[in-house]
């Protein structure tokens, strides 16, 4: 016996709840990871070089990503956050056309999470663009400091902070390595030739400083740049910021649902058996119905 259309429709409707189980659960999406980036800043530290325009190009691009106009001696730009990759820095005389040949250029490979200073250093006659790798992490509870000597008038300087001789003879155009110091606020003294400059400089725990020695209008001048800062002391581990009041509670007993499944299957089986048993009398009735092949 074939199933009738009526039977088929009913069975299909019954199958719908089973189909609903196939709908996948929707999971909450967290924000995807951000693009990898680093930081670049640009500096003009050549005392006898006039103001420049500084261009930053992503490698291969003809239009600049960043242009700083009329950057004069002593200027250090703030860090710009840029995607990782290769960049070209070009310096042109202030006001020169963007298409004119640059006076100087340098390439920088920006690695994720790293920071770089691209500085014009030295005398005008020997001007160079130097790419400095900037430190961002400090030993726990300490400060990091380095010095850039950009004074032409005092070709060699000594740098003393709170009694610590940081650099005894740093030459013009040189960049010292980073030094670790115990945090505190102390007087910074820069001396060269007959000249001296002092400033009260706080070096807090977890900070990185670049001190720039410059030729100011009145002689030696100190610029204290805060390169980076983090926690003075890193807390240990994570934060205990929850008590569980809104935490999901464990699932309820599966028993009632298992009972429903079992009862349903039993009913379906009972109905199926009834359907099967109805076929037998139809075939046994003889002549009016289908004759099995072996009886012919």
């Amino acid at each position: 016996m074939r199933f009738t259309r009526f039977a088929r429709r009913i069975i299909l409707l019954a199958a719908l709840p089973l189909l609903l189980l196939a709908i996948p659960a929707v999971s909450a999406a967290t924000a995807s990871a951000a693009t990898a980036t680093g930081w670049i800043r640009l500096a003009h530290l050549s005392p006898n070089t006039p103001a420049v325009d500084v261009y930053l190009y992503s490698f291969g691009d003809s239009s600049a990503q960043i242009v700083l106009h009329h950057v004069a001696y002593g200027t250090v730009s703030p860090y710009e956050q840029v995607p990782t990759g290769d960049y070209t820095v070009a310096m042109r005389a202030a006001g020169a056309a963007a298409t004119s040949a640059p006076v100087l250029s340098a390439s920088v490979d920006v690695v994720a999470g790293h920071a770089y200073t691209v500085a014009g250093l030295g005398p005008e006659s020997g001007l160079r663009l130097q790419v400095l790798d900037d430190q961002l992490s400090t030993p726990s509870g300490q400060a990091l400091v380095r010095i850039i000597q950009a004074s032409l008038k005092q070709s060699v300087v000594s740098v003393n902070w709170g009694g610590h001789m940081l650099q005894s003879s740093l030459k013009f155009g040189a960049v010292s390595s980073y030094q670790t110091v115990s945090p505190g606020t102390a007087t910074l003294t820069v001396s060269g030739g007959g000249d001296q400059a002092t400033a009260s400089v706080p070096l807090a725990a977890g900070t990185v400083h670049t001190l720039v020695v410059l030729d100011g209008p009145n002689g030696l001048q100190i610029d204290d740049l805060l390169d980076a800062a983090g926690s003075g002391t890193d807390p240990a581990g994570g934060a205990a910021t929850g008590f569980g009041g809104m935490a999901p509670r464990s699932p309820s007993s599966p028993l009632p649902w298992l009972t429903a499944i079992g009862a349903g299957l039993l009913l379906a089986a009972a109905g199926g058996l009834r359907l099967r048993s109805r076929r037998v009398p139809a075939q046994a009735a003889g002549g009016k119905h289908r004759v099995p092949a072996d009886r012919s």
């Binding site: 199933f3 002391t233 008590f243």
Partner: protein, 219 residues
């Protein structure tokens, strides 16, 4: 009665036949409903919180992003996160005797870790708050719903507003907490918002993970 008995009766099932079909159908429906219920209730029962009230953005003089030689900015006094309805004064947080981050004394207020930079000065400022109390939601209950581009406002003691934009939302296991990424030095003014998340361990009565939202200052 039809002749040519190769075909079964086409007129339809008898009443008994229909009843059998309906029995099969009813059985399948019951089994299907049971299976659906079983699958759906395997997920844990989540308590409900009050409806979210989105807040308007605070007004006030907006602080400029600092240059590197900038003087010390004023201390933070309050926090507003409009998109998740958070508004809170900021208490001061230090370290516990075991060196872990102190947490706010109540679950309805957030706190600024005073060992971290001030929000709006160069560096990674840290603010923490509870996700829940023993009985209900805490100030940072909806923190994990923040998305890139959402705004966070910190008001400071001098009346200025530091405005931050969310860049990332991460969850970390507490026993693999990335201290350098969260507390390490950065060269621009940034913010980290911290609360608990993930699975709640009923034996130790603590969450196993922390949610950390990263944001950077915009002008």
């Amino acid at each position: 009665m039809r002749g040519g008995g190769r075909h079964a009766r086409r007129r339809g099932l008898s009443a008994g036949g229909r009843a059998a079909v309906l029995l099969v159908a009813a059985g399948l429906v019951a089994a299907g409903a049971g299976a659906a219920g079983l699958a759906l209730t395997r997920h844990p029962d989540v308590p409900r919180a009050a409806a979210l009230v989105v807040l308007p953005a605070p007004t006030g003089p907006i602080a400029a992003v600092p240059a590197q030689a900038a003087a010390q900015v004023a201390e933070p006094v309050s926090l507003v996160i409009p998109s998740i309805g958070v508004t809170s004064a900021l208490v001061h947080l230090g370290l516990t005797s075991s060196g872990a981050l102190q947490v706010p004394p109540t679950t309805s207020v957030a706190g600024w870790y005073t060992g971290s930079p001030r929000p709006g000065s160069i560096g990674s400022a840290v603010i923490a708050g509870h996700i829940d109390s023993v009985t209900g939601p805490g100030i940072f209950f909806r923190l994990s719903r923040l998305r890139r581009g959402d705004r966070v406002y910190v008001k400071r003691a001098d009346g200025t507003l530091a405005v931050f934009e969310v860049t990332e939302v991460q969850m970390y296991a507490k026993d693999a907490f990335p201290t350098a990424a969260v507390y390490g030095a950065v060269p621009d003014p940034e913010l980290r918002l911290i609360t608990c998340g993930g699975t709640f361990d009923y034996t130790t009565r603590s969450y196993l993970s922390n949610t950390v939202v990263y944001a950077k200052e915009i002008s």
